[in-house]
């Protein structure tokens, strides 16, 4: 092997890595641009990009528009319109909200926006209809200036736009007052206004620009995908988070070169890995899985080892004292009478549901109730980590999947009892949870969310593919079957009703445990930490220890719930139940209802399982005397996508009501009655005194 040959391979690898690198760079730039100009770590970036790409696709392919009008519509009309709407309706009122609240809102949007677009524009992804780019014959005309690797026109367009983009945006920040003003508004809108700059107009402009950029990126990236699906955009976005992390979310050149570097690194790695694997046979089994894992390995490496990120601190607004403190939720001690009433009502309600469930329900209803119960168990894991510890974890799906796969593997290989296997699976999930949390706990906030999201996709792209997890090739034919447990004389596989009873028992046990933890020292420590970390430390609470416990407990519950979900369905059904995007919807759902209470998790479970069949398919009407299955009004069934729109948009309320909408409504409703009871008590107490 000559030196020249090595050189040529290397150059080819670099050129090969350039197009994907450009894609990462475009998305990384988008992240940095939005974060810098609006303070939002915009996980809805993928959604925005997707909408423009789909709009472009529809205009070109379905309406037969020319390239220019299609670009104008999708990139310069739709994209900024979305950005301006988001700014005006949501983010303008949240300038002083924490980065984590804004992140949750962005997650809600990333769930809601694509569904809303598909409903409004009547767009359906159709397999095999490959999107085209913004240059004619973009994918069929090639240029090969070096004679080593040919670039398509589409790829050249990407490269040019990314390069020009980084230069223009960089120039905007360096040389214009607008760039400074945008950064100023993110840090302190009031101080920016003191300089005579209208903050509202600046942030509207910032959103317009970053949304146009998102739309542009979407349209440019689309030709790389075979079919336009919003999830693919999301996945690409997660891959590109490493690029944004290189730029510490604030440096445009950092994000650009981070993205390019990632593309080059992967290409070079892929060029040389097979040769290394020939020399070192131990690499062989990893060969296939190393490539997809690289972006995550890089991201994790950056998060854990790059000192600049550890030092990155959210700059606080020096004038935040000017804003009135948020109205404290009337923290009330509930009147004992009200507590009693609530309990009686709760017992009656549950009794009624239980009685109906076990005596009246048909097969379909039992299945729905079982799903609701099992999902409630999983959602309690979000109650622990997000509700109690205040941390955003986006890898609960992976933890649940660990539980499910463990049951599958242990039963398959060792014929173990399914219930024992479920507990082992939960324990493994707990250990994994602690290990994932350990290195990134200190970062906290947005970075923790990024790290967990990366882990979720790493699990999805790499871990599931291992045969000792997902079953490998044999699972392709026989599925990942999971039996239901047999305990003594009870075989829960025989009767769906019995399995529902078992699931309810597990849910009750987990609920009680979660309440115990909340009331116990650990729960109180977490509450203290969430409220004031410095104060909690000053009385001897170790933030790291408390949060690792929270992570492990949360992962344990998720693992247990995941195992039960697999048992319920008789199969792990990984893509349907546990994919990262599905798990993100869990978070949105729990957070928008109530992340702080056990009821919240159960309501979220019920909402996930029942909302579609009961409300959207119109089944509730069948309970009325007139209607039956065949004469439902024409608007039913309503598309299940409304579920995403509804809960995604409800999550927007997170910044103002972090306790969740249901909890907020409940508190407000009980408030009045509470006050009345106390007033009556006071009157009674006063009465005898007046008499004397």
């Amino acid at each position: 092997m000559t030196l020249a040959l090595i050189g040529e391979d290397f150059v080819r690898a670099l050129l090969q890595g350039t197009p994907p690198g450009t894609v990462y760079a475009l998305i990384g730039l988008g992240f940095v641009l939005t974060y810098k100009t609006s303070g939002v770590f915009n996980l809805a970036f993928g959604a925005q990009a997707y909408i423009s790409a789909a709009m472009f696709f529809k205009a070109r392919q379905e309406w037969g528009w020319g390239i220019v009008p299609a670009v104008v519509l999708s990139v310069f009309v739709i994209a900024p319109a979305i950005g301006l709407t988001l700014e005006r309706l949501i983010f303008r009122n949240l300038r002083t909200a924490s980065a984590v609240s804004k992140l949750v809102i962005a997650i809600g949007l990333s769930v809601a926006l694509p569904a809303l677009f598909e409903l409004i524009a009547d767009y359906k992804p159709v397999a095999g209809r490959t999107p085209t780019g913004i240059v004619p014959d973009g994918s069929s005309v090639f240029y090969d200036p070096t004679g080593v690797y040919p670039f398509s026109r589409d790829e050249l367009a990407q490269i040019i736009v990314a390069g020009v983009g980084v230069i223009l945006l960089g120039a905007m920040f360096r040389f214009t007052s607008m760039g400074l003003a945008m950064r100023g508004v993110v840090e302190s809108p009031r101080m920016t206004e003191l300089a005579g700059i209208p903050a509202d107009r600046v942030s509207a402009l910032a959103w317009a620009i970053s949304s146009i950029f998102a739309g542009m990126a979407g349209v440019l990236i689309a030709p790389r995908l075979n079919t336009l699906i919003s999830n693919d955009f999301f996945t690409l976005m997660v891959l590109a988070m490493a690029a944004a992390a290189v730029g510490r979310l604030v440096s445009l050149p950092g994000a650009f070169f981070g993205g390019m570097g990632l593309g080059w690194f992967i290409a070079v790695f892929n060029t040389y890995l097979p040769r290394w694997a020939d020399d070192h046979t131990w690499l062989e089994p990893f060969k296939d899985n190393l490539t997809p894992s690289l972006p995550f390995v890089v991201l994790f490496g950056i998060l854990v080892f790059w000192p600049a990120i550890r030092r990155a601190v959210d700059a606080a607004d020096p004038l935040s004292g000017v804003d009135p403190p948020p109205p404290a939720l009337a923290a009330t001690t509930r009147h004992p009478l009200l507590t009693l009433q609530t309990r009686i009502f709760g017992v009656c309600f549950l009794g009624l549901v239980g009685w109906l469930g076990f005596t009246q329900a048909d097969v379909r209803w039992i299945a729905l109730l079982s799903t609701a119960t099992v999902l409630s168990i999983i959602y309690l894991s979000i109650t622990v980590i997000t509700g109690f510890a205040g941390q955003i974890s986006l890898c609960q799906g992976a933890f649940a999947a660990i539980g499910a796969f463990t049951v599958f593997q242990l039963v398959d290989r060792y014929d173990m009892s399914a219930l024992t296997a479920a507990l082992i699976g939960a324990a493994i999930a707990a250990v994994v949870g602690a290990i994932v949390a350990l290195p990134v706990l200190k970062l906290g906030g947005v970075w923790l969310a990024i790290a967990t999201l990366a882990f979720a996709f790493f699990f999805d792209a790499v871990i599931v593919k291992f045969s000792w997890v997902g079953g490998g090739e044999s699972a392709l034919f026989s599925g990942t079957q999971v039996p239901r447990p047999v305990i003594g004389p009870f075989d829960f596989g025989e009767s769906d009703r019995a399995f529902l009873a078992l699931a309810v028992i597990v849910l009750v046990i987990v609920s009680v445990a979660v309440i115990q933890l909340r009331e116990g020292t650990i729960g109180q420590s977490l509450r203290a930490l969430r409220s004031s970390e410095v104060a909690a430390e000053s009385i001897g609470i170790s933030p790291a220890r408390a949060r690792i416990v929270a992570f492990a407990v949360s992962a344990f519950i998720a693992g247990l719930g995941g195992a039960f979900l697999a048992m319920l369905e008789g199969d792990v059904n990984y893509p349907k139940n546990f994919s990262p995007v599905a798990a993100m919807f869990w978070l949105v759902l729990v957070v928008s209802l109530s992340a702080r209470t056990v009821e919240g998790a159960i309501q979220a479970g019920a909402a996930f399982a029942l909302f579609s069949p009961v409300i959207l398919e119109g089944s509730f009407l069948e309970w009325l005397p007139y209607f039956n299955e065949d004469n439902l009004p024409g608007i039913f069934p309503i598309s299940a996508k409304w579920r995403f729109v509804l809960f995604g948009l409800t999550a927007i309320q997170f910044a103002r009501h972090p306790e969740g909408m249901l909890e907020f409504g409940k508190r407000r409703a009980t408030q009045k009655r509470n006050d009345r009871y106390y007033a009556r008590d006071a009157e009674r107490a006063a009465a005898p005194e007046a008499a004397t």
Binding site: E187, M191, E193, L194, A195, I197, P198, L319, P324, P327
Partner: protein, 241 residues
């Protein structure tokens, strides 16, 4: 004294959420006036300064600039009307460099052409800032951040300069320099509204004094008469040493 007051607060009340900070404060500042706001901790001095620059909206009452009612106008309109406010504490953009902090303000108030000259002036006034012009403002010491937030209002030569806790955290020599600059700004016709701990300094510079107590104006008058009133007022409940 000109006829139209530059700034007029009429019977202003202000609140932060449920907490009321001002109860019916009236103040008038004519072009060229220099007013010192004195009073104990929590008396409402900072809130008066914030209402005067539009940072805090008056809940009731009226705020007029050049005779035009600006009661609930956004803050930037006040700045565009020539009112510059250096808020208390470390009011700088922490992630900006020293120079970016200054440029953000100078570009709008002085125009792009005049930025280099203004920067030179700021660095002459505070050589320490010149040495650290590329440094990120968040890493400056408290005193240097204070210099930075003062530098911009001193160089801008606004029509009304509002400075909150002017000399807090500055070394005495620098305080003297700041006062020299203020004197020269005054003589060029700008009005001043100053919140100050160093009563002595403030009385030397200003011709008017407003003494605040629990969100109301307890006394106003020329500074010549102020010394005794202020000392009485500030120390009536205090010092037994």
């Amino acid at each position: 004294m000109a006829d139209t007051p530059l700034l007029e607060l009429e019977d202003v009340t202000a609140e932060y959420g449920p907490f009321r900070a001002l109860f019916g404060v009236s103040l008038t500042i004519h072009p060229g006036d220099a007013m010192a706001l004195l009073g104990s901790n929590g008396a409402g001095k900072t809130t008066v300064a914030r209402v005067a620059s539009g940072l805090v909206d008056a809940a009731t009452g009226a705020v007029r600039v050049d005779g035009v009612t600006m009661t609930r106008e956004p803050t930037y309109r006040f700045a565009q009307a020539g009112i510059a406010h250096a808020p208390e504490g470390r009011s700088v953009f922490a992630t900006f460099t020293v120079e970016e902090n200054l440029v953000l303000y100078f570009r709008r108030s002085l125009g792009r052409k005049n930025v280099p000259a203004a920067l030179d002036e700021a660095y002459t006034l505070f050589p320490r800032l010149g040495e650290r012009r590329r440094q990120v403002a968040g890493t400056l010491s408290g005193g240097e951040q204070r210099m930075l937030s003062l530098a911009r209002v001193l160089v801008e030569k606004p029509r009304l300069l509002i400075a909150d806790e002017l000399s807090l955290g500055l070394a005495p020599i620098i305080v003297d320099e700041v006062y020299e600059t203020l004197t020269s700004i005054r003589s060029s016709g700008a009005a001043l509204l100053i919140v100050e701990q160093h009563v002595q300094h403030a009385l030397e510079l200003c011709d008017h004094v407003a003494l605040l107590d629990h969100g109301t104006i307890a006394w106003t008058g020329p500074s010549a008469e102020a010394a005794d009133v202020v000392v009485d007022h500030l120390f009536e409940t205090g010092s037994s040493s």
